[in-house]
Amino acid sequence: MKDLKILGVVVFFTLVTYWGVEPYAHSVMHKHVEFEGFKYKDLKAPAKKGDPAKGKVAIAACVSCHGIKSQGIKAPMDAVSASAAYGVNPPDLSNAGAVLDEKFIANFIVSPTHAGLVKKSGMPAGMADAQGAADIAAYLKSIAPKEIKPKEAFEFACGRCHAVRYDKWTQIGQTPKTKADIKTGVDLKKMEFDKKVGQYKLNLAKYLGKLPPDLSIIVRARGEHYLKTFVENPQNLLHGTAMPRVGVSNEGYEKIYKYLEKVGDPSKPKREKVGPIVLLYFVGFAFLAYMWYKSQWKDLH
């Protein structure tokens, strides 16, 4: 009985200390931003519903910079030249409708800086009027694949500014498998690729003011809630950042997070599998230890 009373005192003071240095201190240090479900309430929905058929015609204005691989339209420039021209490589639009919010796309086409909440954008404003933009958005939705892979969602929304070195992802694509010359150790193909990535990074850093961080373990560094609210509106948490609001939809974000978690916290499935076994082992151990303790102390008092 006395042991339990003492345990209560120890546990109480331990929990107070924990509460103070973890939940409480962090609530003081970090501004809490409420998650709004990627609704983009500040943006207006188009007056009339977009017409995909009209959008298919209007998209002609876009393909002078963007490719749409799924429709057989190739990007006019390679990533490095595009970054030299626009600061960042314009994305291929095949998956845009699968990752982005439709209302957001329509607003973005009218004014990328207004929708993206940034001062400048490589994409010019006014590529279509409000209705034309809504048609293009509807078209992009209509050609989007039903199901895309988590990594594809990441590639489209984040992967042209952010590298993921733990997954060998660079801003211009996957690092190719190359072979070094066996006699000299020289790997010219790799050096050529590295040079391209380097040139792209320089262009990107010039455009954004700094090189965006590698996202390999961003899930451990920022946590689920921060990432979600940051992607929803970067200005809320990092005022003045050059990162635009990307405009992902709920489903699009879930895919992106799934990819980041797989790379940044690869042990999660294993932890969930091994954890219960280890705990069960120690519960059994505790039971045996208790029996031994009772047998040793039974005739002492």
Binding site: K2, D3, I6, L7, V10, F13, T14, V16, T17, Y18, G20, V21, E22, Y24, A25, V28, M29, R165, Y166, P213, S216, I217, R220, A221, R222, G223, P266, S267, K270, R271, V274, G275, V278, L279, F282, V283, F285, A286, A289, Y290, W292, Y293, S295, Q296, W297, D299, L300, H301
Partner: protein, 410 residues
Amino acid sequence: MAHFDPNAKPFSHKWLDERLAVDTLQKVLSTEYWIPKNINFLWAMGMILAATFGILLLSGIFLLMYYIPDTKLAFDSVNHTIMGEVGYGWLWRHMHGVAASVVFLIIYIHMLTGIYYGSYKRGRELIWISGMLLFVSFSAEAFSGYMLPWGQMSYWAGMVITNLFSLGSLNLNGLVEWIRGDYVPGQAFLGRFFMLHVLLMPLIIMALIVLHFGTLRIPHVNNQDGEEIDFEEEAKKWKAGNRKESKVIPFNPVFLSKDVFVMSIYFIIYFYLVFYHFEFAMDPVNFDPADPLKTPPHIYPEWYFLWSYEILRPFSKNAGLIAFGFAQVIFFFLPFLDRSANVAPANRRGLFKYWFWILVVDMIVLTIMGKVPPMGIYTTIGTVAAWTFILLWAVLPFITKMEKPVRGSK
């Protein structure tokens, strides 16, 4: 001249006993190492600490196989190689990180238990002092280990803490550079902290653990009432079979059986933390690689250093350093600042009872204030708590001098 039986079989009991005195050793260290019967589960903290140190050592050996002490590679060797590529590398790292944090919780419980029951007096002064040496060594071990992943908090905490050695207005920048091996933390810095963490500090800690056990053997462990026990007399009763009447029990197996049971409960909690709640021991900021050009908005040490860090913060530069130095060493002097002869639980010791509980609460307040940013009301609370800490130690000799003898104590 020792006697060696030429007919004893090699490695037989007799053969070993003649050469190693295994019988005597077993008696002295185990079966006739007498422990008072009147104890509670807090008496198991020592063994829990030994077990946790074992976990740290073992997991550390595995981590050491893959860790690379190079400023360019360290971060990825931890976060990619160990966490993603090595089989169960994540488990060793989470065990190591959580144990490093939990070991301090147990150390504080162990220390406060010693203070509460007066287990640093009447022949037990060296137990206390060797224990404090262990505390300081564990602190150095923890700090040096925190540098190794070379994340943002490693780098900037390393910067801030080594800066303290300029000793305020003395401006001993040469000393700081000498400690760092460079103007700022870099390769030389990482290399030497790596050495400290994996070799020098563990050696010192292991030597001190032996010393700590050694200091315990003659004065024996204290008990819940601070009663002075005639261990030889009580041991005789036990050996005569009077298990009930004897006030002592042998370390092995009786005391050990309770220790192992308490330890098993501890392991359940510890592994729960390892698998489901490790974030508290692994600061998210340290998952950003070290960046000398970007100071994090909040720099703070791990939770177990916060109380002494907070004693540094509210004062001006020089006064803060003096207060910090005071906090680092004052616990060593406890056996001599406590002027009362009473060895008894704090709640039977008059004013000391209040002294103890104020100390506990004050250290928790300091810990929390050490983490929140120093602004507004937090600065005020921190300053009051820091002064309270200093005053507590200033009044200790006086309130203990006035203390009346407790019944049963000499």
